[in-house]
């Protein structure tokens, strides 16, 4: 291992401090006994206990989870279909326009997306609630899925599908038995991306949520306006924990899968 120079050490420390110090403070204060957020009064898990009894937070968490699961699943299906058409259909009239329109929501300010959806829902007389949040999240996360999946499809060898057809598959069977299993890592990461986006979206959700349903980010945001409470710190710590576990386990799974594949390839070469 190479030793770091003092310059590298300093910049590394400063960089990490910049990134993680706020979160560390938040985590530390979530275990604070005092009700005052900025005054340390000793260690306690009291706020975690209170959090479990706070129905408003638990309801919001449940809504958030429902929205994230349903919207990311629908977005994955739609995004994958859009990617298939964009990559496969070749040249058709309006293809450039269509692909531009798929990617436009990626750069569109969220406020505008949220506002236009709000106007639409009011226009068609749809009551705002879980359904409208799901629709809104599906709309914007679908673009991300289609970007991820189409980048995989570009490098997909079409002859694999032709081989499946040649061996007696119908078009649907060829997709289900050959294409989908091969592109599944991209589809799964598209789903995870959509799930994460939905989980932490505040802007679009606040346009499309109604009195009947609130998501966790909205709940946290509105509580903050009444003053930071240690309960919020506890809730945020749990969220950080969930995200960290998710990200770390996902990267560990990917790494071990690629290590295993490398080992198998080495074994195959030796044989």
């Amino acid at each position: 291992m190479r030793r770091l120079t003092w310059f590298n050490t300093t910049s590394l420390t400063l960089g990490f401090a910049f990134l993680y110090l706020p979160m560390i403070i938040l985590i530390v204060y979530s275990f604070n006994k005092s009700e005052l957020v900025t005054v340390w009064a000793g260690f306690s898990t009291r706020w975690y206990g209170e959090l479990l009894e706070n129905d408003a937070f638990l309801d919001a968490a449940w809504v958030t989870l429902q929205v994230a699961v349903v919207s990311s699943t629908v977005a994955t299906v739609l995004g994958t279909l859009a990617a298939l058409v964009l990559v496969r259909a070749g040249r058709f009239i309006g293809r450039t326009l269509f692909s531009g329109m798929i990617y436009a929501p990626l750069v569109m300010p969220e406020v505008i997306t949220g506002l236009s959806l709000l106007l639409l829902f009011i226009g068609i007389g749809l009551d705002r609630g879980v359904l409208t949040i799901i629709l809104a999240h599906t709309t914007f996360s679908m673009c991300y899925v289609s970007v991820v999946v189409s980048s995989r499809l570009v490098s997909f060898d079409r002859s694999l599908e032709e081989a499946a057809l040649d061996l007696g598959c119908s078009t649907v069977q060829a997709f289900r038995l050959v294409t989908l299993p091969i592109i599944s890592p991209a589809v799964i990461s598209g789903w995870l991306l959509a799930f994460t986006l939905s989980l932490d979206d505040l802007v679009i959700a606040s346009f499309t949520a109604g009195p009947s349903a609130t998501t966790l980010p909205i709940k946290i945001w509105s509580s903050i306006r009444l003053g930071v409470s240690p309960e919020i710190n506890a809730l945020s710590t749990i969220l950080i924990g969930i995200v960290a576990v998710g990200v770390i386990s996902a990267s560990l799974i990917t790494k071990s899968a690629s290590l295993r594949q490398q080992a198998e390839e080495r074994a195959a070469v030796k044989a």
Partner: protein, 375 residues
Amino acid sequence: MPETVFEPWNDPDAEPLIRFRNVTKRFGDFTAIDNQTLDIYEKEFFALLGPSGCGKTTMMRMLAGFETPTEGTIELSGQDIAPIPPNKRAVNMMFQSYALFPHLSVWENIAFGLKRDRMDKDSIAARVEEMLKLTRLEKFARRKPHQISGGQRQRVALARSLAKAPKLLLLDEPMGALDAKLRQDTQFELMDIQEKTGTTFVIVTHDQEEAMTVASRVAVMDHGRIVQADTPARIYEDPESVYVADFIGDVTIIEGTAQPRREGFYEMTFAEAQPGISAQSERKFTAGQACALAIRPEKVVISAEKPENGVNALKGTILDIAYLGNISTYHVELPGGQVIKAQTTNTRRLSRRNFTWEDEVWLSWSETAGVLLEG
């Protein structure tokens, strides 16, 4: 009893398995196949040979069902196949990239087509075992495609496409990804398998040696047309055009004008200061008609002295020598600038090379050695 030779194309009663009738295929403005008619017979090993972009792959993809002819019909066993989709055709294809399913094991890859036919489990297992044995892959049945070598992958692709016992097997550059040594072994293996299974093979290749080795007949293609379809020997020894002569093997093309002599013999003049070349030809030429003599280097004899009774003997200087181990090819320049290639076989290991650069030598060949073609 005379030995029966496999030559269904010479038998007027034979029913062709595949019949291209005036097939044209256009992609937009580009004509890939230009009004071609071709018969391929059962149990043939038929090669489509040509440079890239000549239309050979399009011919094959039309047989597989991935392209449909713009005009004309293709018949398989007397039935027009245009309305039949690829998954309903008794035709299987081995892809250039092999197109093995990376998420399935070798065993599952071979069983893939059989499972689509709703065969029962035991028959599938039996058929897969048979294919594994045929292609000597028994040991690798449980491996995934990325865990085996290129040569083994090629055999998996072959086994998979043969598993459904198709009437016709299409092979798209099947040996393109193999190195030269493995390629040669595989060619013989492929011929062996074709003979064992009795399947009709149509192979697409740009490698003329490969086509000559494996095929019963070769169709040489150029710009969407079949220039000549014939046995390898006839393609090589009796090409019908300068293009075919030039495309297959090594050749010297001498251009000149024909002068009829006695019946079936012509004298070709090609340069001011040179004597005419005398050649026998079945083709008719009129006096003064432009023509070209195609002569293979191995049919030209090279000597230091003027040969006693050589019909065609010309003097020149050695310009270049290509030593290939088994043979040496001499490029000899005649005083007029025409270069003629002559080949000698190096039968002795330690003999002194007779000729070297700038040497004056005599080239000679018989009247039947070259082919006289329309220029």
